[in-house]
Each structure stands twice: as C-alpha cells, then as structure tokens.
C-alpha cells in the first residue's frame, strides 16, 4: 500500500464517525417514552379509547389538532364527529379531560423525539 499510514488514518477516522451511534449505544437499554395513561378519567372508562383509534392518534394527533384549530379560528364550527360517530368539542379541554398532565403525557414522547412544537406558545397547559 502506498502512503498506507495516511490512508488508513483517514479510513479509521471515517469509520469512527459513521459507526459512532453503534458503539455509543451498543448494549445499552433504551426504554421507550411510555406516556402515562393512568389518570382518573381514563381509569373510569369502560372501553379505553381516544377521539380516534390509538394507531391514528399516535401518527396523526398533530394534524387532527391543527385541523381543529383551523375550524375553530375560521368559525366553521367547533364540534368534531369522530369516525365512530361520537361528538367532541374542538378544544384543548377535550384532551385535558383525560390526559390531565402535560408532563406525564405530551412531554414524554415529545422529549424522546426532540419535537419542537408550537402549541404552548399560545395555549396554557392544564393546572394539575
């Protein structure tokens, strides 16, 4: 190999950078965020359900809430009919009724994913 020292040094630096996430994380336990569903309102429910299905809410809650915001702000109505036919107020209070702690629900996943969300620039969080 010609100039082997320089080439291998460069290669080692490159491999060190690209494999950093692996040797940094290797073998570590990485618990997921586990948002808490242990609130009085949820515990009282016979069939635990949100506004829409769990699968849908996990992926789309931000779009749903943004849709509510547009509806309310444009005065097109403030009542949401879910796919199962239930009626909900398009309001944070609908969320807070069950998910009464922002810290133990919203923040868990948002911190895990480092989501930089604009909700709390205007809205206040629940008191509890």
């Amino acid at each position: 190999m010609y100039n082997g020292g320089k080439i291998i040094a460069g290669l080692v630096i490159f491999l060190g950078i690209v494999t950093f996430p692996i040797y940094y994380n290797a073998g570590k336990a990485n618990p997921g965020p586990s948002p808490s569903l242990d609130t009085p309102a949820i515990n009282q429910m016979k069939v635990k359900h949100c506004v829409e299905s769990r699968q849908f809410m996990r992926a789309n809650h931000m779009k749903l809430l943004r849709g509510w915001m547009s509806m309310v702000l444009s005065g097109k109505g403030c009542s949401y009919v879910s796919t199962t036919g239930e009626k909900y107020d398009m309001s944070w209070d609908t969320c807070w009724k069950c998910h009464s702690s922002k810290k133990q629900f919203c923040d868990r996943c948002h911190q895990y994913m480092a989501v930089d969300l604009p909700c709390w620039k205007c809205h206040s969080e629940p008191n509890t």
């Binding site: 494999t19 336990a29 930089d116």
Partner: protein, 329 residues
C-alpha cells in the same frame, strides 16, 4: 431507454417492499435484516475500495494545476491552484470537498460570430452544492433517531430547518432544496442533448433512488404519517444491537428504509463512492513539486542496461583495428 430501466428498478424496489411488508408481513426482514446487511456491505465495501485504491501505484506525478507554480522568489506563486507543499494540497482539498471549487470554475464556451465567448455557468455547481449540503443536513437531522437523548446541535439544526413554521408538522427547508436539486440534476441530464448522450443507466439510477428516498420521506412526514416513536424504538434497537421488529409502523416507512438500505449497499460499488475517491485522486492530492522532489514510479524495476564503457570493453580490439576512436586505451 437508458433512463427507463433504472426508473423501473426503483419502482420494482418499492413494489418489493409493498409485497414484502404489506402482503407478506416480513417486518423483521425489512426492518432489521436488510438494514444490517446494507450497513455491513457499505462499511466493508468502502474499506475494500479505499484499500484497493491505496494499493494502486501512481506511476506519474500528475497534479492538475491552473495557477503560477512556485519558482523564482520575485514571482508570486498561487499556492492553492498550484500547491507546492502539503499545506496547499490540504487547503485545495478542503475547498474542493466543502465548496466544489473545480465545479465552480465551469465556463460555457460558445462561438459568437467569428470569436469564442466564455460565460459563467454555475448551475451544476449550485445544484450540486444544494444537493450535497441539504443531504448532509438531512442526515444530521436524522440523528435524533439514533440517540436516546437527542444531542443539542441536532435539536438546534432541526429548529433552524423548520424555522419557516409552515404547517404541522413543520416544513423542513432542506427537504424542499433536496428534492428540487435532485429534480434539476435529473432534468439537466434529459434536456441537454450533449449530456443526454453521455448519461448512462448508472447515472440515472442514483438520481431516481435519491428522489425516491426524499419523496418517501417527505410523504411520510407531511402526508401519510407513521408512528414516529415506533420508528425511533426500531432504530434504537438496531444501533444498540438489540434489534426487534416493531409493530404498527406504516408501509411508507419501510419503503423509505429499504431505499436507503439500497443506497448504502449500492454506494461502494458505484460512482457515489467519489466521496472517498476524491481524497485518493492523484490529480488533487499531490503537490506540484516534481522539480524539487523526484517522483519514483513504483512500477520501476531494475532495468538491465549495457553501458558504452561495457560495450567498448567488449569490442575494444576490433574498434582499434577498424580505426575507430576509443575512450580507454
């Protein structure tokens, strides 16, 4: 035709995922096995390529230059365009790698009447810069999936990238630039006749693949949506070497992941490995010092020679008899 086959290849890859994940439910194969295999092929292939280049001799001293060489003390040398030492080479290499300086010098040549006119043609440079830099920022942004607590610089970059605050989830500026740049890089190959003529399927395939990656990523983020926490749990499992298939992530994620895996596995064997090759280009990594330091061709072997002195020794008597002059009596 040259573009159609690579296009169909990328379409086939997408259909393969849809069949494998949606129809057959091969979550472990597409979520764990394929990414691991792709990462292994990438790392080993990259090392193989670089070592292979390192073992290739450079017979001639061939730095490309376009500036004044270092010569007499009162002539000002251009140490970057015509590097005379390691410092200049490093400077030139850094400018090349980070700013694509040689592309920036591109000029368009045209015959106007009876003279030649040169004009500035920065479009390839501009789109190349836009593509590579936005791709780098997108890769760095994705590091939020690779660390349990997201590093602050990654968070800062994400904040900066979504600073327009358009829509929910917020639009990333780099996504727009990436897709626009790849689209432009494709269009220039199909609209300019002289470029179209020299474009091979191996030039189209990475463009379609990169567009597929960008488009599937954008579609996933802005429209179809997947359970992003599930995605991070899958990725954290992969990088902590405790892989486990995670249920409930949409097919679009597996399409995105499979196209990226394809890119990684394809990388070392294609033109994309210029990422490593640029550092090993003799035209770029040699300093122009061939008048100071002798470049020895590594191919050189001891050549069998027969000097004049030996020739004279062999034929001295005959030369004398023929009346030819000899150096040694």
């Amino acid at each position: 035709m040259k573009a159609l086959v690579p296009f169909l290849a990328v379409v086939f890859l997408v259909l393969l995922v849809i069949a494998g994940v949606k129809a057959a439910g091969l979550y472990f194969l597409f979520g764990v096995a394929v990414p691991y295999a792709a990462a292994a092929i990438f790392l080993l292939g990259f090392v193989y390529k670089v070592v292979k280049w390192g073992r290739t001799p450079v017979p001639f001293h061939i730095p490309t230059t376009c500036g004044q060489q270092k010569s007499l003390p009162w002539i000002k040398p251009n140490s970057i365009e015509n590097p005379s030492g390691t410092g200049g080479v490093i400077m030139r290499m850094l400018l090349e790698v980070f700013l694509f300086r040689s592309l920036f010098k591109n000029r368009k040549t045209k015959i106007k009447g009876d003279y030649i006119a040169y004009s500035w043609a920065p479009w390839l440079w501009l789109s190349g810069m836009a593509f590579h830099w936005s791709f780098l920022l997108i890769v760095i942004r994705h590091l939020r999936f690779f660390f349990q607590s997201v590093p602050v610089p990654v968070q800062a970059l994400e904040h900066l990238d979504s600073i327009l605050n358009w829509g929910v989830p917020a639009l990333y500026i780099t996504d727009v630039i990436f897709l626009a740049a790849v689209t432009y890089l494709f269009l220039r190959r199909v609209t300019l006749a002289h470029l179209k003529a020299i474009t091979l399927p191996a030039d189209y395939f990475p463009l379609f693949l990169l567009f597929g990656i960008g488009a599937s990523g954008a579609l996933m983020r802005y429209h179809l949506r997947v359970d992003v926490v599930g995605v991070k749990e899958l990725v954290m499992g992969l990088v902590s070497l405790h892989p486990a298939a995670v249920a409930g992530i949409g097919t679009i994620f597996y399409i995105h992941l499979f196209l990226i895996s394809t890119l990684f596995a394809y990388f070392p064997w294609s033109k994309l490995v210029h990422a490593g090759g640029v550092f090993l280009s003799p035209t770029r990594n040699l300093s122009n010092n061939s008048r100071v330091v002798r470049h020895v061709n590594p191919w050189n072997y001891p050549v069998k020679v027969h000097t004049y002195a030996e020739y004279e020794d062999d034929f001295r008597e005959k030369m004398k008899m023929a009346g030819l002059p000899v150096e040694k009596e």
